[in-house]
């Protein structure tokens, strides 16, 4: 006789893997396509196992274009953006969550509102500004704004600061700590899962960003990975196998970061640990 606890564990595992399969099927299909010659990709009925697998798709896709260059460009932009977001968004979010000031709530709504205007209509004026600054064909339009905060992450971090009881700061303040010390030593550790999220999402957004690099980076030697991926599609034809192979490859760094960063989501918060 199976105990009910064991039965529940089996059911849970079945559920976990069942859902995983749903998420995995399209990816497996993509993997399979990436190993086919072009004419096999749209075959009916579809075949799962490419025969023979065309591994050259990967080497060809990644060498027809200077993907090494694109990777190093993307890495520089991504790292600067992460540093920028972590610094600026933490400060701004803390202020919005904790400090009282006239106009604070209005500014908060203004901040949300800036997310609401679709990019295609602000793109041109923004381009003019960066052009006047002489920043076209540099990474500056892609990285400097990160140091000035991003509404999405400020909002996210603010939500997390707000869940922390004030007692901790009051206790620290009585011990003589100032605002920044409290922020750095008391609050930041407590929102670590949120900061890990900011890092991950910034990494992903910056890695996958398309429209901004498209507009600001015009010299091919400055191109990023996503701009490179576009090169497998032209007006009238698309090299599907290469597109799939290169898309899967360039997705790997983000997956690796996620796999490693899980530890920090998992860290969890223990009040005792901080009090002690």
């Amino acid at each position: 006789m199976i105990s009910s606890a064991r039965l529940r564990r089996w059911l849970l595992l079945a559920l976990l893997w069942g859902v995983a399969l749903l998420f995995l099927v399209p990816l497996l299909w993509m993997l399979s396509s990436s190993l086919k010659p072009t004419w096999q990709i749209f075959e009916t009925p579809p075949r799962w196992l490419p025969n023979p697998p065309r591994w050259e798709n990967y080497s060809e896709a990644l060498t027809t274009l200077p993907f090494g260059r694109y990777l190093s460009n993307t890495t520089v932009i991504t790292l600067l953006t992460i540093v920028g977001h972590l610094l600026s968004c933490t400060l701004v979010a803390y202020a919005f969550a904790r400090l009282r000031a006239p106009g604070r709530d209005t500014l908060f709504v203004v901040m949300l509102a800036t997310l609401m205007l679709p990019y295609p209509v602000t793109m041109t004026p923004l381009y003019v500004i960066f052009h006047r600054l002489g920043w076209i064909n540099t990474f500056l339009p892609l990285t400097v704004p990160a140091f000035l905060g991003s509404p999405f992450y400020i909002f996210l971090l603010r939500q997390f600061f707000l869940t922390i009881p004030r007692d901790f700061e009051d206790a620290a303040r009585i011990d003589g700590a100032n605002t920044l010390q409290i922020l750095a030593w008391v609050l930041v550790p407590m929102v670590a899962p949120a900061l890990a999220t900011v890092t991950l999402f910034t990494f992903q957004a910056s890695w996958n960003d398309f429209l901004a690099p498209l507009i600001y980076l015009q010299r091919p030697d400055l191109y990023t990975v996503t701009l490179g991926l576009q090169f497998f599609r032209s007006t009238y034809t698309t090299n599907w196998a290469y597109l799939m192979a290169a898309s899967l490859t360039t997705m790997l760094p983000v997956i690796a970061v996620f796999f490693a960063a899980q530890r920090y989501f998992l860290a969890g918060i223990s009040l005792a640990g901080i009090k002690g």
Binding site: S33, R100, V121
Partner: protein, 301 residues
């Protein structure tokens, strides 16, 4: 916290506030407000982006009222938002709860699998689904055929195209789930231990403890999800280009078409501002409602 001069302390706090947010203010003034103001100005002009703009007053806004495609795109966008936002909020939370099964074997791998599809960037993501939705060769209809069901023509049928895009977007739920997961992990373990000691079962501690403490995260996801779905673009741009028969003509897709394919940047800007007003009204509503259901442990009045 007791201060001899409460007025001075308050002033000081306000100054600190503005100092701390000053990086964002600088960014707001230089890189955000100017483009926004310019786009508002453009919405009162007729501008093909090739020759100088010409002032036409409110004409673009007046034209909107008679524009069948504008109303169609508004309907499509609203329908999609109503379909997607609830499923994202609930589905994302359920997925996060699965990801939070710390004790399950292989959970790190599973979590990565759930998250993986949301990493795939735009075009590849959509293209894979176009194959899955293929009426004859696609896996979805092949599966339905196994069950004896004749599948619909999905993206090629105006009745199912929007549903197909909705199904496609569910594949990216991992992203929302990760935000929830961070929220779940932010709930102090001691609270659960205390609840368990009071004899609360799994369900009661979920409803009585997890949900209330998760409201700030739910609130965040709700606001962001509304803003994002109102601006849906890539999936329709790549998979259907708004068709068939405008069944997936999202507002931002229509706007993009007007701006860069039909050379009517003035009209596109007017569209953008109508969209802006709609999202803003919606968001203010959500923010207002938040006072009644969002619970902050450390709120500052």
């Amino acid at each position: 916290m007791q201060h001899p001069h409460p007025g001075r302390a308050r002033r000081r706090e306000a100054v600190t506030f503005y100092l701390l947010i000053s990086p964002w203010l600088v960014g707001l003034l230089t890189f955000t407000l100017i483009p926004i103001a310019v786009s508002l100005g453009i919405s009162f002009t007729r501008w093909d982006m090739l020759s100088p703009p010409e002032l036409v007053g409110l004409r673009n806004y007046a034209r909107l009222l008679d524009d069948r495609l504008f109303w169609q795109s508004l309907t499509v966008t609203a329908r999609y938002t109503l379909m997607y936002v609830p499923t994202e909020l609930v589905g994302g939370l359920l997925l996060a709860l699965l990801m939070n099964q710390v004790d399950a074997r292989g959970i790190r791998l599973l979590r990565t699998l759930y998250y993986m599809p949301s990493v795939l960037s735009g075009v590849a993501f959509v293209v894979v689904w176009m194959w899955l939705f293929h009426p004859e060769a696609g896996l979805i209809n092949a599966g339905l055929a196994q069950l004896g069901v004749q599948g619909p023509r999905w993206l090629a049928d105006p009745h199912t195209a929007l549903t197909a895009l909705w199904m496609m977007s569910l594949w990216g739920l991992g992203r929302t789930a990760v935000i929830y997961l961070a929220g779940l992990r932010g709930i102090p373990r001691e609270l659960y231990e205390a609840a368990a000691m009071d004899g609360a079962g799994a369900w009661r501690s979920f409803v009585g403890l997890t949900l209330p403490l998760l409201t700030p995260t739910i609130f965040f996801n709700l606001v962001l999800s509304v803003i994002a779905t109102f601006q849906t673009f890539t999936s329709a741009f790549v998979a259907t280009n708004g068709g068939p028969l405008d069944a997936t003509l999202f507002l931002v897709l229509y706007l993009y078409r007007k701006a860069f394919q039909e050379f009517q940047m003035g009209y596109a800007s007017a569209l953008a501002w109508v969209l802006f007003a709609l999202i803003l009204a919606f968001t203010l509503l959500v923010v207002r409602s938040g006072r009644w259901w969002v619970y902050y442990e450390g709120e500052t009045p």
